[in-house]
């Protein structure tokens, strides 16, 4: 039996398959409106099937915004538990995790045994999430990658309110139309800084402790990570497949379930 973790996010669905603790395959697909459809499509893709056919060969743990809404998993787990597990698997030195997804931001502590300790999050507001970054890039008519690169050349960080994505949009527009206009690099840095300051508030709430691991789609954004490191005062760890760590954690929990059942 193989262990399978599915993270059904609001924008993307991630799947990781473990065979005896080793990653066998993984994939990321755009989420469908229906969580169950997202899960089935993603799993079929990961397994290289045209239509999903599990045949009782997989123990599945689902998580994410749509984790409870799928019929193909044996169990569903909280995102933060899966995250803590996934991060600890990659970095046993990790004591703190920051996850920035499309519609959420979670900061949490991990104990010496890889278990989730405290956590703080903002999930009812778009400010400080991936959607916010995407919306801002669209507004500035540049790609997410270009915005990230650009921000590294910023001379200053104009203040952009990090409390509301809608209001921040008007602020960015006024920077673009200012005479002389604020350089795009600075605006980009200002946007990242507004997100980082919200995350820092969450970090302070749970207590900052090294090592810090950053995951979620936004972790791939070098510009934002750069500013986060400046604010924290030290380097953070970003795994290569930062987007799939939650799915990895879910798969690890599934693996443990299989082992328990085997005993």
């Amino acid at each position: 039996m193989k262990a399978l973790g599915i993270d059904i996010g609001s924008l993307t669905t991630k799947v990781v398959v473990l065979n005896n603790g080793v990653i066998e395959t993984s994939c990321v697909v755009d989420s469908d409106d229906e969580a169950d459809t997202s899960a089935k499509v993603a799993v079929a893709r990961a397994l290289g099937q045209a239509n999903i056919n599990l045949n009782g060969d997989y123990y599945i743990i689902s998580t994410g915004a749509g984790g409870k809404a799928t019929s193909i998993s044996q169990k569903s787990k909280a995102i933060s538990s899966c995250l803590a597990r996934g991060i600890y698997h990659l970095y046993s030195s990790a004591r703190m995790g920051i996850d920035i997804g499309a519609e959420s931001g979670i900061v949490f502590k991990i104990n010496e045994r890889g278990k989730l300790k405290d956590q703080a999050s903002h999930d009812k507001c778009a400010a400080g999430t991936g959607v916010f970054v995407k919306q801002m890039a669209k507004l500035m008519q540049i790609s997410l990658e270009d915005m990230s690169e650009l921000s590294l050349d910023a001379k200053t960080r104009p203040e952009i309110s990090g409390t509301c994505a809608v209001f921040a949009e008007s602020e960015v527009i006024s920077h673009v139309h200012r005479d002389p206009p604020t350089p795009m690099a600075d605006i980009a840095a200002g946007i990242y800084y507004s997100i980082v300051s919200r995350l820092m508030a969450l970090c302070k709430r749970v207590g900052i402790e090294k090592d810090v691991v950053v995951t979620g789609g936004v972790a791939q954004n070098k510009g934002l990570i750069n500013i986060l490191e400046q604010e924290l005062g030290f380097k953070v760890l970003v795994p290569d497949n930062a987007q799939s760590i939650v799915a990895l954690g879910a798969a690890i929990i599934a693996q443990e379930q299989i082992e328990k059942g085997a005993k």
Binding site: D33, C125, A126, V131, Q135, C164, V166, F167, H177
Partner: protein, 263 residues
């Protein structure tokens, strides 16, 4: 004697000119990017065809977000004071005001003289503001002026678990795709916004009589929901969007009289 009040809000500019304690002229216009230009356009439109020029008005007072940038105003007062003052002219019995504006929402308590006794405001989040409703009207492709009436036709409101304008917009699109009726989506949003407004009002204290001012008070669906939540039927004046400008004109009269008595 002629007294003028100008209320430069975040989304709309309002002017009220008073003659012998009656409203003599008024206008409501969109706020443009330049406050000074907006101020001149609004007052000129209000005075059009009256045979009166700006110079003929004895005292003009400004309020609202753009109040410091009105060149022809002799003084300015916060919109919170102006709303209390303005509503008192219509209804001296009002003690509680819910002001739902373009980019913020306020709960104001006042006394029988129209003086503010306490207030709370939300200006950090676009959720539940006029800006929010504009976004939703746009998504649903219904004119802003009609969304209130459409919501009233709903019998089964769709529950929204977020007040964030960005997330609510995404959710609304999702529900539309799933085949939900526009009226039910609007009713659900009105429910969410009213709950939030009610919580704001609770912080200043619920008391009779109750009124709603600001642009959103023209939305019948929202007014009905707010009345239901608060448990009080609001007293609505002729044009609740003009209350701030009216209050400013009344303050202009008071200032003028005070200056005269002092010599």
């Amino acid at each position: 004697m002629l007294f003028g009040g100008i209320d430069i809000g975040s989304r709309a500019a309002k002017v009220v000119v008073m003659k012998d304690d009656a409203i003599f002229a008024s206008t409501i216009q969109d706020t443009g990017p330049e406050s000074v230009k907006t101020a001149y356009m609004a007052i000129n439109t209000a005075l059009e065809g009256t045979g009166i020029a700006i110079e003929d008005i004895d005292y003009i007072l400004a309020t609202g977000y753009g109040r410091v940038l009105v060149p022809f105003a002799k003084a300015n007062v916060s919109e919170i004071s102006c709303h209390a003052k303005g509503i008192n002219w219509y209804f001296p019995s009002v003690r509680l005001i819910l002001d739902m504006g373009g980019q913020d929402c306020k709960g104001i308590a006042c006394d029988g003289q129209g003086r503010v006794t306490s207030f709370v405001m939300n200006d950090k989040c676009a959720g539940g503001t006029g800006r929010f409703l504009e976004m939703i009207a746009d998504v649903l492709n219904i004119p802003l002026s009609e969304i209130g009436d459409v919501a009233l036709e709903s019998t089964t409101a769709i529950p929204f678990n977020t007040i964030c304008a960005v997330f609510a917009k995404t959710d609304a699109i999702k529900y539309l795709k799933q085949g939900a009726a526009k009226k039910d989506i609007l009713a659900g949003l009105n429910e969410a916004i009213s709950t939030r407004s009610y919580n704001l009002l609770k912080r200043v204290g619920i008391q009779k009589d109750f009124t709603i001012t600001g642009g959103i008070s023209k939305n019948k669906g929202m007014v009905a929901k707010a009345a239901e939540k608060v448990g009080l039927e609001p007293l609505l004046c002729e044009d609740p969007q003009l209350v701030g400008a009216l209050g400013a004109a009344l303050f202009a009269r008071d200032k003028y009289n005070l200056l005269k008595t002092k010599g």
